[in-house]
Amino acid sequence: MITFKDVSYSYTPGAYALQNISLIIGDGELVAVLGENGAGKTTLVKHINGLLKPQSGSVIVGDTDTKKSTVANLARRVGLVFQNPDHQLFAETVEKELSFAMVNFGMPPEEVTKRVNWALEEFELAKYKEKPPFLLSGGERKRLALASVLSYDPQTIILDEPTTGQDDRQKTRMANLFKQLNSDGKTIIVVTHDMEFVANFIPRVILISKGKVLAEGPTEEILTQKEYLERASLLPPQLVDLSWKLSLSKPSISFEKVTSEALRMLEESRR
């Protein structure tokens, strides 16, 4: 479990990046952190692996207060995948990139090989095994960055904008992988602007605006509130937008619900 207790943080005195944040993310949750640019999303997740320590309040990961631990220690349990893969990738080959953390953590070589092979297959990177990461396409580098964190199997995985530059098929693959990891008990936190991805695949949303928690709850409940989306400068998912434009009494993120409402309206008009 990850607990934020009244956490505040500012980079420059007087301007809060996070202000009195309290929230709980349970073990095995799949949750999205949404909010406008500069809302404090990245600042928030950097508190979970200890890259940032709260200036007031506390962050508890499992049974560890992050203030009393080190990033190196927390990193084994909390893996963070950065938005820009080029800030993360550095090894000479894809294979070395994937094994780096595991070798550092002192895992037995046969275990490392097994996991590297899993990652190469799972992320469709096998054909690039011996290649330097910088020769991969943008979308592929992104998957490699994700794979290099997932392969060492941390309990909690934080992903900063994992879907940018990914096509639909890769997004669906990624979502299925998240669901699978999730059902294995992993906690997955996705920082994103990709409203369609959230609407389709992520059950719970934490909405951050101007350093505060604006709302949190089931995805459909949050993403159908015009006021929340406007305050956090977010565009509605397409189905919500369609719900609004059709003035549905219950706007929805469900394809089936919105389609049957539309069907009902069409049939009514034909009568």
Binding site: Q238, S269, R270
Partner: protein
């Protein structure tokens, strides 16, 4: 008249056993707004690099066929000549901005053309105002947001007065609001100045309503080429994994369930059709 004409283009990167582009034929008419998409790794970025001659000039490799831009063959004319006609915007603006101020960044290409000082000044002003960032001209590109940086990159190209703008996933790293504002700028430029636009984009729901034509790549080949309606409502598009907009999926489902005949590309258009039917 076709401003871009690609005939039988096949290309392999050096030391690559597999060709990235295979026998691509494509014509882009002057003033067209062409949306290009396809699964990642399908050759979109490579194709963009061919349009301003970066391929083969800077990359080498095996190049077959012809790419003609504004009557100039990209293999017979140097990149600097082609790039005055075709401006290329990349996915990550960080990789292309390097000057200490926005104004200098936008002026850089013009200084290289050795234009008179007054001409440079007026073109910079014009380009900045076209994308709506005149107020940023003294700033350093480093301190700007991703969306603002992308606007600087676009302004720097506009200052060169290219006939064609090629944008390779310019909004991939931007939040939806910034992405939307970049797209609005492109739509306005296209309408007002008649510049030809080739936009590579995954988010079809956002961009398709504005495009004249939609071209889909798969494994180095052009597999679909037509109006956004023809392409997105085709059977083939479904199997490609390119993210058919949900509005299109709703309309297709309505067509299967009650014979709905509209082919909308935006939720606004679909809602109007449904509410319009209501009378």
């Amino acid at each position: 008249m076709a401003i871009i004409e690609v005939k039988g283009l096949s290309y392999s990167y050096p030391e690559s056993a597999v060709p990235t582009l295979i026998n691509v034929d494509l014509k882009v008419e002057q003033c067209e707004f062409v949306l290009m998409s396809g699964p990642s790794g399908c050759g979109k970025t490579t194709f963009c690099r061919c349009l301003n001659g970066l391929i083969p000039a800077s990359y080498g490799g095996t190049f077959d066929g012809t790419v003609t831009v504004d009557g100039l063959s990209t293999t017979e004319h140097p990149v600097y000549e082609i790039s005055q006609r075709v401006g290329l915007v990349f996915q990550n603006p960080e990789n292309e901005l390097f000057c200490t101020s926005v104004e200098r960044e936008v002026a850089f290409g013009l200084e290289n053309l050795a234009l008179p000082r007054q001409e440079i000044r007026s073109r910079v002003e014009e380009a900045l105002s076209l994308v709506g960032i005149s107020q940023l001209k003294e700033k350093s590109p480093e301190e700007l947001s991703g969306g603002e940086q992308q606007k600087v990159a676009i302004a720097a190209l506009l200052a060169m007065k290219p006939k064609v703008l090629v944008l390779d996933e310019p909004t991939a790293n931007l939040d939806p609001m910034s992405a939307n504002s970049i797209l609005k700028i492109l739509v306005r430029l296209h309408r007002e100045s008649g510049v030809t636009i080739v936009l590579v984009e995954h988010r079809l729901e956002m961009s398709a309503p504005y495009a004249d034509r939609c071209v889909i790549f798969e494994e180095g080949r052009v597999v679909l080429n037509g109006s956004p309606q023809e392409v997105l409502y085709s059977e083939k598009a479904n199997s490609l994994g390119i993210g058919i907009p949900q509005v299109v999926q709703v309309a297709k489902s309505l067509s299967a369930r009650c014979g709905f005949e509209g082919r909308p590309l935006s939720s606004k258009a679909l809602a109007e059709m449904i509410l319009g039917a209501k009378g």
